[in-house]
C-alpha cells in the first residue's frame, strides 16, 4: 500500500484504489442508504460514543453495507449513553441506548441486516392508543 505523508501521496493512493473501488454515489440517493446517527454530545462522548462511532464506520464498510454514519447532538437520553438513531430505508427511525461495540455488532447483524429488533431500544417513536386518540 502506498505510504502517505503528503497530499501528493494521497493522489497516488487514489489512482491505485480507483480501479478496485466503485465510487459511492450516496449523495444522489441518500434515502436508499441506512442512516446511523450517533449522539456525540458531552454525555455521549464521555460514555464512549467515539468508539461506537468508529466501530460503525469501520464495520459497515467492512461488511459491505451501504450506510451513512454521522454525528448528531444530544437527543436527550443522557442516562442511556452512548445512544444512536438508526433509520433503515423506508422505515421509521429507532433509537438504541447503552450501545457498546458488542451491542453495535448485534445491531448490525440483526437489525440492520435482517430487520430483527434487539434489546435496548428507547421507545421514543412509540405511540399509545391514547396518543392516537388525542391526535384524532
Amino acid at each position: 500500500m502506498t505510504k502517505v505523508k503528503t497530499l501528493a501521496d494521497l493522489k497516488k493512493l487514489r489512482e491505485d484504489l480507483q480501479e478496485k473501488i466503485r465510487l459511492r454515489e450516496s449523495g444522489e440517493h441518500p434515502e436508499s442508504l441506512v442512516q446511523v446517527k450517533v449522539a456525540m454530545a458531552t454525555c455521549g462522548i464521555a460514555s464512549g460514543a467515539k468508539d461506537v462511532m468508529t466501530f460503525f464506520m469501520e464495520e459497515l464498510e467492512k461488511r459491505g453495507i451501504d450506510a451513512v454514519v454521522t454525528q448528531t447532538g444530544c437527543m436527550g437520553y443522557c442516562y442511556a449513553e452512548p445512544t444512536l438513531e438508526i433509520t433503515l430505508p423506508g422505515q421509521s427511525p429507532l433509537v438504541f441506548g447503552y450501545v457498546n461495540s458488542r451491542k453495535a455488532d448485534e445491531i448490525i447483524e440483526k437489525y440492520i441486516k435482517k430487520g430483527e429488533l434487539v434489546d435496548g431500544i428507547i421507545p421514543v417513536t412509540y405511540q399509545s392508543i391514547n396518543d392516537n386518540q388525542k391526535e384524532g
Binding site: M1, K5, D9, L10, L17, L23, K50, M53, M57, E61
Partner: protein, 182 residues
C-alpha cells in the same frame, strides 16, 4: 473526558450546531511550557450575554436538557492545569475557544488520539471544512479536509485503505509534534 481529543470532539459539536462551514483546531506549544488549544469557527456566534454565561454548566441553548457541560468541563481542566479558558465571539462573526494548559503540570490532561479525532470529524462531516494545525517552536503540520478530499477525488474517507493511510500520515506528524512536548 479522559483526554483533550475528546474535548475537541465535544467543542466542535457546538460549532456544528452554530452552523459553521469551516472549523479550525490548532494546538500550539512553544518554549514557554504552555500548550494552547484554539478551536475557532465561522458559525453564527454568540452575543455578549451568552459569552458571559457560557461557562455556567446550568446555561445551555439546547431544549432537550437543562445543562451544558462541554465548556464548563474544559474550563475546569484548563484551570486545574495552571491555565485558563477564554472565549471570543460576536453575532455573525463566529467563535474562538482558547484553552491554555501548563504542560508540566501534573494535572495537565493527555492529548489523546488527535489523529483519530481528526479523521472521524472529517469523515463524518463531509460538507464541513475541518482544518487541524499542530504548531511547535520548530515545525508546523496542517491537515485540511478540503485538500484531502480534493486529492482523494471522491474516494470516501471511510474506505479501509484510505482511512489507514490517512491515520498513518496524521500519526507520523503527531508523533513529531509530541516529541517536542515530551
Amino acid at each position: 473526558m479522559k483526554d483533550l481529543s475528546l474535548h475537541i470532539l465535544d467543542i466542535v459539536q457546538n460549532s456544528i450546531r452554530a452552523e459553521a462551514r469551516t472549523i479550525k483546531v490548532e494546538m500550539a506549544s512553544g518554549t514557554d511550557g504552555m500548550l494552547k488549544m484554539l478551536i475557532s469557527d465561522d458559525g453564527k456566534g454568540m452575543d455578549e450575554e451568552q459569552v458571559n454565561r457560557v461557562k455556567d454548566p446550568f446555561f445551555t441553548t439546547r431544549t432537550t436538557r437543562k445543562i451544558g457541560l462541554g465548556i464548563s468541563l474544559l474550563t475546569q481542566k484548563a484551570e486545574q492545569s495552571g491555565g485558563y479558558l477564554k472565549i471570543e465571539s460576536a453575532p455573525g462573526k463566529g467563535t474562538e475557544v482558547n484553552a491554555v494548559f501548563e504542560i508540566s503540570h501534573p494535572d495537565c490532561p493527555p492529548l489523546g488520539d488527535i489523529p483519530g479525532c481528526a479523521w472521524m470529524l472529517m469523515a463524518s462531516n463531509p460538507g464541513l471544512r475541518m482544518i487541524f494545525r499542530l504548531v511547535s517552536a520548530t515545525e508546523e503540520y496542517e491537515w485540511d479536509s478540503n485538500e484531502i478530499n480534493e486529492a482523494l477525488g471522491g474516494l470516501p474517507l471511510t474506505e479501509h485503505d484510505v482511512k489507514a493511510s490517512i491515520i498513518e500520515w496524521f500519526n507520523a506528524d503527531f508523533c513529531k509534534f509530541k516529541e517536542f512536548n515530551d
